[in-house]
């Protein structure tokens, strides 16, 4: 064990002597330099180990042979050692990152850097206020000097602005310190308590706090920081943004016990405001490093807020929240700043270069996901707990601001990410040079943050392996990525099988039903992906992640587990969608809407009362009375996921632009997650009804969604968009019938969910096959394919009959149940709307099958073959399913009847094949028989009587007394329902789309407006600082 004061001593000595070592060559000085830095890390690491694992007491170091307060003393407790370990390590990494720079640059840069790190150590350890000032100045001055490590005019300007701003702040700090001495007669934090201050003495604390706070870059007094982040060498920027911020933040942490609560709260709110505005302004930013700067400032604001709002809670929670934000932000930010240094692209638009560099792209992804506070990264847990505290203390404004801010952050971060993955690059773009010294730190940090995440999950929440499974899936498959994708496909099929088998015992009733939809449905759909030729790297990892999170959704025991699975589901599906060729915009929209929904759910869950049993959520939630607010928020969250009207605009994009063998997962299965969620609320709803009937409105939204979806589908030219809108419409039915909250209603909801899973998967896979052969999704470019791909045609035929609800196929069961339930419930007009939409659904269904398979065959499709076998197999598995439940509806009605029976007493009577409701009856089997009969009779007649039929081609027709000139002109397909659109008139306009578009525009222009306060003039920045202090003082006064 080495006395940590040696960190100061050695660094200083080395610093003083480096210029002499330099005489012995740069090698020597570099050795000393890195030696000392690593020595620091080593010393602190040991102490951290001792304190955490051997639980040794905090170490107090007195100087000058006197005890405090006579002399200055240093403290190395848990917090100090943690922060120092982090800062020293980051410092070392940044130094390694800067290795090539340090080889060439002036020796002074080494000295400055060394002493900068030394200063941070002192700053964190010292307990003496004035000594703190000295160390702060050491840090500042060395930073000022280092800003020009790469000397450009910009960095000089930024450095100067930084200096005058910092100087101003330090004046106030000095004033604060001496007045603290004046009022308390002491300078040592251990000997000063809040009670020592007269009311009038608080002014000293105010000055002190403000000086530190200004160093933490609050909005709007932070222009200087942005310029520094933008212009300074990335290595140094990372040090400023991470190491310095950490140090200063710790100073704030040290003095925070002295600060009166109301001041602390005001600073907390200021932090929240900073978070919000910096993210808002980030929206408009195009310069990568400046963008990171905005985000950095915002995150620090959030950090301050989290500290000042949670300071009175138990320490473990504070460690999780504040520590979580701290680690998450700083690690991610350091890594990203380093990346900007490697990529060397100022403008975000040029970041497409990352496409060619998988490893960098992956690192970028990890850090970016971490930064945006998604699970499993520490920021997620911190945010979850923090929001929980804020919600339970009813600070809804703060919650709203924070979440809106993080939504903005998500927007610009993921816009950036999608550019990096999908953005276009000019061909003569040169490869990014590989520099180990630069790549190593980033890789290490990405690894570390993953480790920390897992550590939190294991130790704080003691999650089992099953919750970790999604992450393991991604990492595991990433290691196996060299295997050809077919094998990977088979393997994942097996894995899913095992997983399903493992899950089975945990499931009962409702869970089991959704287990079948999620797991079995996915398994069958995986067969469709076996058609992939290339390696398709990363695909199966995220596919498995998604499937596992479906499963975890079902068996979740707590709100958190549910939400975690939900977020994993979002992430994985986002990545899967992003894999599509033109999916940049689509996936971004998907991410934004999903995140918004997720945040609403987060608040909803945190506001919900605690569960008092440890059975699965879907059972235990029945015993809690959800407050109306959380019901509303949760409902909206789930409806966003299920593409409800008003928030549906992401749905067609995402479902259509995803790779054609991914769409079935997204559209046929993923949507059911929202359904599951709504059912979950419903279960609590029926047991203890809230004061305000939320589900009545949910019901209306459902039916309107059904209608709008059907209409939109009818007006599409793109087959997959058509199917996507059809899904929207179908899920609208489901949502509406859940909202009925009756036995029949839920029966129909589940029946339809199951059906929809089957026919929509089949349809999407069939279209995938067609697309695979014709390379187009635009329907009017096809036609007459029935003879080329008969099997796909049959699938589509059966499926659309099932969708439309025409007897005898299973679809009619759904219709029958739905209408019966609506009329029984007394929702007559809703039922009317549903009749309308089911009428409209014929339009798009006919359009789908006719324009692709019937009508005229195009020349270019003269010689295409049937879809590949891997597409055919799953289709026919689903067909078999549909036929089975059409023949014998009891196969599904009976089990569903008993499942729903747990929540309502049964409203139907089943005897034999006959199902009787309070209104009417339906005998699926008899219907099937009769239909067979009435179909076969004319057929036989035709066969027998009309033997001499003469086969002719499609083209053999007479058209306006002429032969038509070409298939293109003879195939009536394009804009098929123009007259209907005309009839709808004003109702046909894309109002919702325009609304969201306007919203985007507005938020961007707001951001643009606010960021104009950063005039770039250093003087104005000082003015901001002064005014800021004044304003806070005034707020404090009143």
């Amino acid at each position: 064990m080495v006395n940590p004061i040696f960190i100061l001593i050695l660094s200083l000595a080395a610093g003083f002597l480096l210029s002499i070592f330099e005489k012995g060559g740069r090698k020597l000085s570099l050795t000393v330099f890195y030696g000392v830095l690593s020595f620091n890390v080593f010393v602190i690491a040991e102490w951290f180990y001792r304190i955490v694992f051997l639980s040794e007491p905090a170490l107090i170091i007195n100087t000058a042979g006197f005890t405090a307060p006579l002399s200055i003393n240093l403290r190395l407790g848990l917090q100090e050692s943690f922060v120092l370990l982090f800062t020293n390590f980051t410092g070392l990494m940044a130094a390694i990152y800067l290795f090539r720079k340090f080889i060439k640059s002036h020796i002074s840069s080494l000295i400055l850097y060394l002493i900068l790190i030394m200063g941070i150590n002192g700053l964190v350890m010292t307990r003496d206020l004035f000594n703190m000032f000295v160390f702060m100045e050491i840090v500042s001055i060395s930073t000022y000097a280092l800003t020009i490590l790469t000397k450009t005019r910009d960095s000089l300007t930024a450095g100067f602005k930084y200096m005058i701003a910092g100087g101003t702040a330090s004046i106030f700090f000095l004033l604060g310190v001496v007045f603290v001495y004046y009022f308390t007669g002491n300078l040592n934090l251990d000997f000063i308590t809040q009670s020592d201050f007269s009311h009038f003495g608080l002014i000293s604390l105010f000055l002190l706090a403000m000086a530190v706070f200004i160093e933490l870059k609050p909005f709007p007094a932070n222009g200087w920081a942005l310029d520094v982040y933008q212009s300074v060498n990335s290595g140094i920027t990372s040090v400023i943004a991470v190491v310095n911020s950490a140090g200063i933040f710790f100073v704030f942490y040290k003095i925070s016990p002295l600060l009166p609560v109301h001041l602390l709260h005001i600073l907390g709110i200021a932090g929240v405001i900073t978070f919000f505005f910096s993210n808002l302004m980030g929206l408009k930013q195009t310069n990568a490093k400046r963008l990171l700067g905005y985000s950095s400032i915002g995150q620090i604001g959030l950090l301050v807020a989290s500290l000042s709002f949670t300071i009175h809670y138990q320490t473990s929670l504070i460690y999780l929240i504040v520590g979580g934000f701290f680690v998450n932000h700083l690690i991610a930010k350091a890594g990203l700043f380093w990346l900007t240094g490697i990529v060397e692209k100022e403008n975000l638009k040029d970041w497409g270069v990352l496409k060619n560099n998988k490893s960098l792209l992956i690192l970028f992804g990890v850090l970016l996901f971490a930064l945006s506070g998604l699970p499993p990264f520490p920021g997620f847990w911190a945010k979850w707990e923090f929001i929980k505290i804020l919600t339970q203390t009813k600070m809804f404004w703060v919650v709203g601001t924070i979440l809106l801010g993080s939504l903005f952050e998500i927007i610009f971060l993921f816009r950036w990410f999608t550019i990096a993955v999908k953005g276009d690059i000019d061909s003569n773009e040169k490869e990014i040079p590989f520099e180990f010294s630069k790549l190593f730190p980033i890789a290490l940090f990405s690894g570390i943050i993953l480790l920390i995440s897992v550590a939190i999950m294991k130790s704080y929440y003691d999650f089992t392996l099953i919750q970790l499974l999604p992450i393991i899936a991604v990492l595991g498959v990433y290691l196996l990525d060299f295997i050809p994708s077919k094998i990977k496909g088979f393997l994942s099929l097996i894995v899913v099988g095992i997983y399903g088998y493992y899950l089975y015992p945990f499931e009962s009733n409702l869970q089991l039903f959704f287990g079948i939809i999620f797991i079995v449905g996915s398994a069958i759909n995986i067969i469709g992906t076996l058609n992939r030729k290339n390696l398709s790297q990363g695909f199966y990892g995220f596919l498995l992640m998604m499937i596992f999170s479906f499963g975890n959704l079902i068996i979740a025991k707590t709100y958190l587990e549910f939400f975690l699975a939900w977020e994993f589901m979002t992430i994985s599906s986002f990545v899967l969608i992003l894999r599509g060729n033109k999916a940049q915009m689509a996936s971004l929209m998907y991410m934004i809407f999903s995140t918004a929904g997720a945040y609403l759910m987060m608040v909803g869950f945190s506001y919900a009362p605690a569960l008092n049993s440890n059975s699965v959520l879907i059972n235990s939630i029945a015993n809690v009375q959800l407050p109306v607010l959380s019901i509303i928020l949760l409902a909206i969250g789930f409806m966003i996921k299920s593409g409800s009207f008003g928030v549906h605009i992401w749905l067609p994009e995402a479902h259509a632009e995803a790779e054609s063998d991914v769409s079935p997962f997204i559209s046929a299965i993923l949507l059911k997650a929202g359904v599951f969620g709504l059912l979950m609320i419903g279960i609590s709803y029926i047991k203890n009804t809230p004061s305000f009937d939320v589900f009545y409105f949910v019901g209306w939204f459902g039916v309107i969604t059904a209608l709008v979806g059907a209409f939109l589908a009818s007006f599409q030219e793109d087959a997959k968009r058509l199917l996507a809108y059809s899904s929207m419409s179908q899920v609208g039915y489901i949502v509406a019938s859940i909202a009925i909250l009756s036995h029949l209603g839920w029966l129909s909801a589940m029946y339809l969910s199951f059906n929809h899973m089957m026919f929509k998967s089949a349809l999407f896979i069939a279209i995938a096959g067609v697309y695979y052969r014709t390379h187009t999704r635009t329907m009017y470019e096809m036609g007459g394919l029935i003879k080329k791909m008969p099997l796909s045609y049959i699938t589509v035929l059966i499926s659309i009959i099932a969708v439309s609800g025409v007897p005898p196929l299973s679809g009619f069961g759904a219709k029958w149940l739905i209408y019966s339930s609506f009329i029984e419930k007394g929702w007559y007009f809703q039922a009317g709307v549903l009749f309308f939409s089911s009428g409209v659904s014929f339009l798009y269904l006919y359009r789908l099958i006719h324009t692709i398979f019937l009508g005229q065959l195009k020349y270019e499709h003269q010689d295409i073959k049937e879809a590949p076998i891997w597409f055919i197999i799953p289709q026919y598995i689903f067909m078999a399913g549909i036929m089975a439940i059409s023949m014998n509806p009891n196969l599904i009605i009976q089990p569903l009847n008993s499942i729903v029976g747990h929540y309502f007493q049964s409203a139907i009577l089943i005897d034999g094949y006959n199902i009787t409701s309070s209104l009417g009856n339906w005998n699926g089997n008899l219907v099937m028989m009769v239909t067979m009969g009435v179909f076969i009779v004319p057929l036989l007649f035709l066969k027998l009587y009309n033997g001499k039929t003469q086969k002719v081609e499609q083209f053999n027709i007479v058209y306006a007394a002429e032969r038509p000139e070409s298939p293109q002109t003879t195939h009536i397909a394009h804009n098929m329902y123009a007259h209907y659109r005309k009839a709808l008139g004003g109702w046909g306009k894309p109002r919702i789309w325009n609304f969201w578009h306007e919203a985007t525009e507005w938020s961007h222009s707001f951001g643009d407006f606010f960021r104009h306060i950063y005039t770039g003039n250093g003087q104005t920045y000082i003015l901001h600082i002064i005014l800021y202090i004044v304003v806070i003082y005034i707020i404090l006064g009143v």
Partner: protein
């Protein structure tokens, strides 16, 4: 115009923050018990006449070390920033040249006296250092293309700093605390060789400050 108004507001705001302090301010009647201990301790423990010095060099030695470091950083930074370039300059007057040449020697002597007697008289390392630097400034002004020997300056600077740390270290090795000035016998009260390591430390500080400031002036004088 808008800006002027805001500036006025800012200043007025600050004024209104400071006003209550100025109004309600009253001087303490007697020393805070901390400084009382210092005054006592300076005599009893450290045997140094100048309480301020003992506070600076011993009790709050860490500050002083930091302070030296700050100055050192400034030098490093400026050296990092400004590469010395020789330019054509005006020639100093005859009077200045002759006078400075012997004046500077006297000044340097005085500077040395100042920092070596920091524990007895007002003044100390910094003051002394500054004086030495001023002497060199005089030389530079008088003889424009004066070439200071940077190697020597650097050695003085680095070594004096290093020795300062070492002196502090001895205390640590003797396990009586870092920067403890009792590593040397305290000597007889009021003598030059009293107050333990204080004069020693102050001499290092003086040398360091002197050389650093000289460096800074030299670098800035470059053009």
């Amino acid at each position: 115009m808008i800006k002027k108004i805001f500036v006025a507001l800012a200043i007025f705001g600050l004024f209104s923050i400071f006003l209550p302090i100025m109004i309600n301010f009253d001087f303490h009647q007697n020393l805070s018990e901390l400084s009382t201990q210092y005054v006592k301790g300076s005599v009893e423990d450290l045997n140094s006449q100048n309480v301020v010095t003992s506070v600076i060099v011993t009790y709050r030695g860490l500050d002083t070390l930091g302070e030296v470091t700050v100055l050192f950083l400034a030098t490093a930074g400026i050296g990092f920033l400004l590469k010395k370039r020789k330019g054509k300059k005006r020639v100093a007057s005859e009077l200045l040249q002759t006078s400075s040449s012997f004046l500077s020697v006297v000044i340097i002597m005085f500077g040395i006296f100042i920092f070596s007697h920091g524990h007895l008289t007002p003044g100390g390392g910094f003051q002394g250092g500054v004086m030495i630097a001023s002497a060199f400034l005089l030389l530079m002004l008088s003889d424009v293309n004066l070439e200071l020997n940077h190697t020597i300056l650097q050695f003085i600077e680095s070594l004096s700093g290093a020795f300062y740390v070492v002196v502090g270290l001895i205390g640590l090795v003797l396990t009586i605390g870092f920067l403890n000035s009792k590593i040397i016998p305290l000597g007889e009260y009021g003598n030059l060789f009293s107050a333990g390591a204080i004069p020693l430390i102050y001499s290092f500080v003086g040398l360091k400050v002197g050389s650093e400031l000289t460096n800074i002036l030299d670098a800035m004088g470059g053009d």
